[in-house]
C-alpha cells in the first residue's frame, strides 16, 4: 500500500524506483498485485479482473493529489491508466518492479491529461466554475455527459464494432476486419467516422450543459 500510494511523480524517478524495488523488500500490496498480474498474463481472467480492481483503488488514492477538478477527472484518468495498462500489458517485464512500470504509465497519462486540459483552457477557468449546480453530484453529471457505452451504442455497428475492437481491445486493422467481416478499408473508415461522430456528440452534450 505504502509504495503504490506514495509514488509521487518526480521527473527522474524511473531509475530510482527500479533500483529501490530490486534491493528493498517489496511492499505487501506490490507483491500481491505482481502475483495477480503474473497469473493474469498466464491467462487467468479472474485474477486480471481483481488486479485491475485493486489497481484502480491505488490509482484513485494517488491521482487525487494531482488533480484540480477532482471528481470528474479522477475517474476519467483512472480509466485512461487502466486502458493504458491493458494495452501495454505485453511490455511488462518480470525484472522491472510493478511500481516502476505502473508509475511510468501513470506519469505519462497524467502529463497527457494536463496537456489536454491546458489545450482546452480548463486550467485557467475561474474557480467558481468548478461549483456545480446544487443537487447534481459532479460524478453524476460527468457520467451522464461522457457515458462511453451509451455514446458508442448510438453509433451504427459499422463504426461501433471497429472502434471497440481497435481502441478498446487493441486489435490491429487486419484482426478487426477478420472479426467483423468488414474489409480493412471499411474498418479504417469506420473507426475514423465513428471517432468523429463521437467527438461531435461529446461536444454537443458539453455545450448543452
Amino acid at each position: 500500500m505504502t509504495t503504490l500510494a506514495s509514488m509521487a511523480p518526480a521527473p527522474d524517478d524511473t531509475g530510482r524506483m527500479q533500483g529501490g524495488g530490486q534491493t528493498a523488500a517489496r511492499s505487501d500490496a506490490e507483491h500481491r498485485l505482481t502475483v495477480l498480474l503474473e497469473s493474469s498474463i498466464a491467462g487467468d481472467r479472474q485474477a486480471y479482473c481483481r488486479f485491475l480492481g485493486e489497481l484502480a483503488k491505488h490509482l484513485r488514492v494517488r491521482l487525487r493529489k494531482h488533480l484540480w477538478r477532482q471528481d470528474a477527472d479522477l475517474e476519467d484518468l483512472v480509466q485512461e491508466v487502466l486502458i493504458a495498462v491493458h494495452k501495454g500489458l505485453d511490455t511488462f517485464r518480470p525484472d522491472v518492479p510493478l511500481t516502476a512500470w505502473i508509475s511510468a504509465i501513470t506519469r505519462y497519462k497524467l502529463a497527457d491529461h494536463f496537456r489536454a486540459s491546458a489545450r482546452h483552457g480548463e486550467l485557467f477557468q475561474p474557480l467558481d466554475d468548478d461549483v456545480d449546480a446544487p443537487g447534481a453530484s459532479p460524478i453524476d453529471s460527468f457520467e451522464a455527459r461522457r457515458d462511453l457505452t451509451r455514446l458508442l451504442a448510438a453509433l451504427p455497428s459499422r463504426q461501433r464494432e471497429p472502434i471497440e475492437h481497435m481502441k478498446l481491445y487493441g486489435r490491429s486493422v487486419a484482426e478487426t476486419a477478420a472479426k467483423t467481416g468488414l474489409t480493412e478499408s471499411a474498418v479504417k473508415v469506420g473507426v475514423h467516422r465513428g471517432l468523429k461522430a463521437l467527438t461531435a456528440k461529446i461536444r454537443g452534450k458539453t455545450h448543452e450543459n
Partner: protein, 216 residues
C-alpha cells in the same frame, strides 16, 4: 462508464500477451529496415551498389572499421529504443554505450586531422562525395524510420519525443550502415562529419514525429 464496468470489459476482452513482444516487434522492424535500405540503395539511389569496387574494399581493414561506426550505433540505439519502449525501464548505461561510438569517432577524427599537414585537412573532411553522403544516408533511413515508428507505436513509450528520437537515430544508423556498401571515403574525419550529420536528420524527424504519433 463506471470503472467497474470498464474493468469487466477489459478482463473479458481478448489479448495476446507475450513477453517477447518488444524484442519481436523491434527485431522485425530492424530486419525490414535493413532489407528496405539495401533495396533502396540498389534500385532507387542513382548509381546503385558498385559491386566491383565494393568487393575490392571488403578485403581492407579500414572498410570494416568504417562499418563498425554505424553498426555500433545501430546496436546501441536499438538497445536504447528497446528500453524506452517499456514503461519504468531505466535506460541507464545504454546512454553511455550509445554515446561511446560518437566519442570514439571524434577522437580518432581529431587525431587524424591534427597529425595531417594543414593543407590536406580540408580534403580529409570533405573527401569527394560529401554532398551526396549526408543526403543519401537520410534518404536510406526513410523506409527504416517508417517501419520502426510503426513498431514503436505498438509498444508503450512513456517519453514519446525521446523514444521517437532514439527510433530515428536507429533508422539513421541503419541508413548509414547500408550506405557503407556504396561510400568510397576511407577517412575518419569524413565519417565523423557527414555520416553523423546524415543520422541527425532522421533523429530530429523521429523526435518530432514521436511527439505526435507515439501516443497510446
Amino acid at each position: 462508464m463506471r470503472t467497474e464496468e470498464l474493468i469487466v470489459i477489459l478482463a473479458a476482452g481478448p489479448r495476446a500477451p507475450s513477453r517477447s513482444a518488444v524484442a519481436g516487434r523491434l527485431g522485425w522492424g530492424v530486419a525490414f529496415s535493413v532489407v528496405a535500405a539495401v533495396l533502396t540503395l540498389a534500385f532507387v539511389v542513382p548509381g546503385g551498389i558498385p559491386v566491383h569496387a565494393l568487393s575490392a574494399r571488403l578485403g581492407t581493414t579500414v572498410f570494416w572499421i568504417k562499418v563498425a561506426l554505424p553498426l555500433s550505433i545501430t546496436i546501441t540505439a536499438l538497445c536504447v529504443a528497446c528500453r524506452l519502449s517499456q514503461p519504468g525501464v531505466r535506460v541507464g548505461l545504454a546512454w553511455q554505450a550509445l554515446l561511446a561510438p560518437f566519442v570514439v569517432v571524434w577522437i580518432v577524427a581529431l587525431t587524424v586531422l591534427l597529425a595531417a599537414p594543414a593543407d590536406s585537412r580540408g580534403a580529409l573532411i570533405f573527401g569527394h562525395t560529401w554532398r551526396a553522403c549526408t543526403l543519401n544516408i537520410a534518404l536510406l533511413s526513410i523506409p527504416a524510420l517508417f517501419a520502426l515508428m510503426r513498431a514503436m507505436r505498438r509498444l508503450a513509450p512513456t517519453r514519446p519525443a525521446l523514444a521517437g528520437a532514439a527510433t530515428g537515430l536507429l533508422a539513421g544508423a541503419i541508413g548509414a550502415l547500408t550506405y557503407c556498401l556504396r561510400c568510397p571515403e576511407m577517412e575518419a574525419p569524413f565519417w565523423a562529419t557527414w555520416y553523423l550529420l546524415g543520422m541527425t536528420a532522421p533523429t530530429l524527424a523521429g523526435a518530432l514525429l514521436g511527439r505526435r504519433i507515439l501516443e497510446w
